[in-house]
């Protein structure tokens, strides 16, 4: 898994590529936690995220709860198979997906 960060004022975009699973999700969690202070808009660009397990979903949910308090979070460019996981778990209803 790789993460590319782009900052534009109080907007932070994280481009996540590869697999987010039990072994890589902690790194994503740490990246979000460390970079979130002062961010009012967090964008997770999942164009190249090919896979997520519940470990990834947990990190995304945690990020959503955090950003609900300090601004907003948007998920973009979700691959079809990952979108199915979001729909299956009800995440498509609680995340803002564009």
């Amino acid at each position: 898994m790789q993460i590319q960060k782009k900052t534009d004022g109080a907007k932070l975009t994280l481009e996540i590529s590869g697999r987010v699973d039990t072994t890589t999700a902690p790194e994503l969690d740490k990246c979000i936690t460390e970079n979130a202070p002062g961010v009012s808009e967090l964008v997770l660009d999942l164009k190249d995220m090919s896979y997520t397990s519940s470990a990834g979903l947990r990190v995304i949910l945690k990020a959503q709860k955090m950003m609900n308090k300090q601004g907003k979070m948007i998920i973009t460019n979700v691959q079809n198979d990952v979108m199915e996981i979001f729909e299956m778990t009800g995440f498509s209803d609680i995340l803002t997906i564009e």
Binding site: T22, R58, Q64, K65, T89
Partner: protein
């Protein structure tokens, strides 16, 4: 007993194992660090079986969820073994995960409420739910001191 009778008996005995001949098994310490090795093992088998990418992802996901639960909970603070077997029977993939940890049926756990808002959602509980939704069938048994979780999916 004639030589022919002996040959017939040997043939019958060896045929009893036929249904397991196509199974491959990996035994690892039940640690999250071994997840990559487990998934690589599964993916190698699925690629040989010409498994479509999406199905491979669904099986990977299910194996990950169950393996991680074994790694995190089956043996408490000790380290035990997890045995992962995979087979292909005419396009039906069967994956069996075995451990000798404390008896536990993950299928008895209630599904999380997926209609709750972000604030109400619990952080955990999705692993087994995802496994049940992604595989065609999931079943559990406890035999000879082992938890046995069997999952099937047709390619």
């Amino acid at each position: 007993m004639s030589e022919l009778e002996i040959l017939i008996i040997m043939c019958i005995l060896s045929n009893k194992d036929n249904k397991n001949k196509s199974f491959k098994t990996l035994t690892v310490d039940a640690l999250n660090d071994n997840l990559t090795a487990v998934i690589n093992f599964i993916d190698s088998f699925l690629e040989e079986s010409c498994c479509p990418m999406k199905t491979q992802m669904q099986i990977d996901l299910s194996v990950e969820e169950i393996f991680v639960n074994i790694a995190n909970y089956a043996y408490g603070d000790s380290v035990g073994k997890a045995e992962i077997s995979i087979g292909n029977n005419h396009g039906e993939i069967t994956v069996v995960l075995r451990d000798s940890g404390m008896p536990y049926n993950p299928l008895e756990k209630e599904d999380p409420d997926i209609t709750l808002s972000a604030e109400e959602r619990q952080i955990g509980g999705l692993g087994v739910f995802l496994t049940k939704r992604n595989m065609d069938s999931v079943s559990y048994s406890y035999e000879n001191g082992q938890n046995i979780l069997t999952m099937k999916k047709t390619l």
